[in-house]
């Protein structure tokens, strides 16, 4: 079985987001980059499937050289090799085009992604890739087992979940509790240094969207504190002042 895991290099979840250049550029100064948390779940499950069933796991990223620490970490966690498309990931369609191009050349049984990136929160790349390859896309997937050529999955739906079976190949957007996040061990970190990382040029240059500029949300007003022994006052204020109930 061949598994492709697509990962993003994104600002740590505790990052205070700021912009420079008159709000036209994300300010990378002092920002710690991490593997997208959902992508991390996808990778962890891929490595588990490899250990259980035997599989090759390839990590895939569209990004510039500064994404390499994240890619190396994925190799340290247990992926076998990696591909980086050397380009700024302009938008979801462009990223999907790169993944589809690679998957057309080398067919994968499973293309695992995160349910969404935590920067643009599109939740789109898996569906576009599925469409481009003419195969099903399923997201968000909370459980994945493979028996022969059949994948058995649980997908979250609004207010519940459903069990799904489908034939490989598939594109999946993953989320917890599909697997536990894995932390690389010393041996993994050592071997990761020599695992192959192929750098390729982008296929196609479609750019269907562009961000003109950014804006920060207006800060919330000061908090109004209500003494605990007058808690019922809150309900009055919610009705008469905030007018939300």
């Amino acid at each position: 079985m061949k598994i492709l895991v697509c990962v993003t290099s994104v600002p740590d979840t505790t990052t205070k987001i700021t912009f420079t250049g008159n709000n036209t550029k994300f300010n990378k100064a002092g920002v710690q980059f991490i593997t997208g948390p959902y992508d991390d779940y996808a990778l962890a499950r891929a490595v588990e499937l490899k250990e259980k069933l035997g599989a090759s796991v390839t990590v895939f990223n569209v990004g510039e050289a500064d994404a390499e620490p994240v890619i190396r970490k994925c190799l340290a966690i247990g992926a076998d090799d990696a591909i980086r498309v050397n380009a700024e990931p302009i938008d979801a369609y462009f990223v999907a085009e790169q993944i589809a191009a690679v998957a057309k050349e080398t067919p994968y049984d499973l293309i695992l992604m995160g349910r969404e990136s935590i920067d643009y929160n599109g939740g789109q790349v898996h569906g576009i890739v599925g469409e481009m390859l003419g195969i099903p896309s399923i997201s968000p997937v909370m459980r994945l087992d493979v028996e022969g050529t059949t994948a058995k999955m649980t997908r979250e739906i609004e207010g519940g979940k459903e069990d799904i079976e489908a034939q490989l190949p598939l594109v999946l957007g993953c989320q917890e509790p599909i697997a536990e996040w894995k932390i690389p061990n010393m041996r993994g970190i050592m071997t990761a240094r020599t695992k192959p990382l192929k750098i390729i040029q982008p296929a196609g240059q479609d750019s269907l969207t562009a961000v003109a500029n950014y804006e920060m949300p207006a800060p919330r007003g000061a908090v109004k504190m209500i003494p605990a022994d007058e808690a019922e006052t809150l309900i009055k204020l919610l009705r008469t002042e905030a007018k939300v109930i």
């Binding site: 935590i118 939740g123 898996h126 979250e156 917890e176 908090v223 109004k224 808690a231 919610l238 905030a242």
Partner: protein
Amino acid sequence: MSVLIFAELDEGKLKKSSQEAIFYGSKVAGMMGTSATAVVIGAADQSELATAGRFGATKVLHATDAKLNEPNGMAYASVVAAAAQQEGAKVVVLAKSSLGDAMAARLAGKLKAGLAPNVIELPDLSSGFRVKTSIYTGKAFAFNELKADVKILAIKKNTIATEETDATATVENFAPSLNDADFALRVTNTEKATGDVLLPEADLVVSAGRGMKGPENWGIVEDLAKALHAATACSKPVSDLDWRPHHEHVGQTGIKVSPNLYIAAGISGAIQHLAGVNSSKVIVVINKDPDAPFFKSADYGIVGDVFEVLPKLTKAVQAL
């Protein structure tokens, strides 16, 4: 040339988020000097479909093939693509939801469209087609220029205030040919909470965290939610510990909500939690620790014990 809106049904009724999408689409149609057509898939009464007119749609295309009775992102995307072709639509609007997300992506692939997820305002058409979207899980906004011929807008829930008229929409049957490949998934089991207010659609949310000490204490959270007719939600550790089902987990790695009122009880207010709830209109925080970070992001706060405060609030709501 019309603007096309996909409107989702829940038990035969148009979802509130879909009413918002129809209203949004009809406003865009107005700006572009054209009309708004809604596509509805699945069984529903003609009278219910005609209510799409109240929110600005002039026409409803109704696809009723029995194969489409269960929501299916891939098949629904094919139906909407066929409708877009029939109507010559260059703008497709839908509400962001688990179904909407799946459809938007497949549609973008089919139509080679420029896609804007998490749209929160009407577009600016003064030079090109620019929309404001929420990014970094609500920590910032981006003004996104859609350069492709076809544009898809996924509207964030509860950010567009609708207005209603008493117009009705005409309803036409729509029966495009279906593609077998879109029915490749076999759903073997579905578990869905019934009767409760669905969290992603809720106007009011009562959420609780590890401060509740254990799942056996959730009764007082549910009582307040019931009194307010609110949905219940929880922090990530609470769903990780299996105190509550996973679909109630809100935050950066959970559901993003933007209700009118978000009440957080016994939640510390970690940045990852805030990311999923910070676009709520009014935030109430109840925490026994006066230094809990959540108070900095709240509109109203009570320093106190949830086990005393929540029942008091429930009583006060019941007395309204």
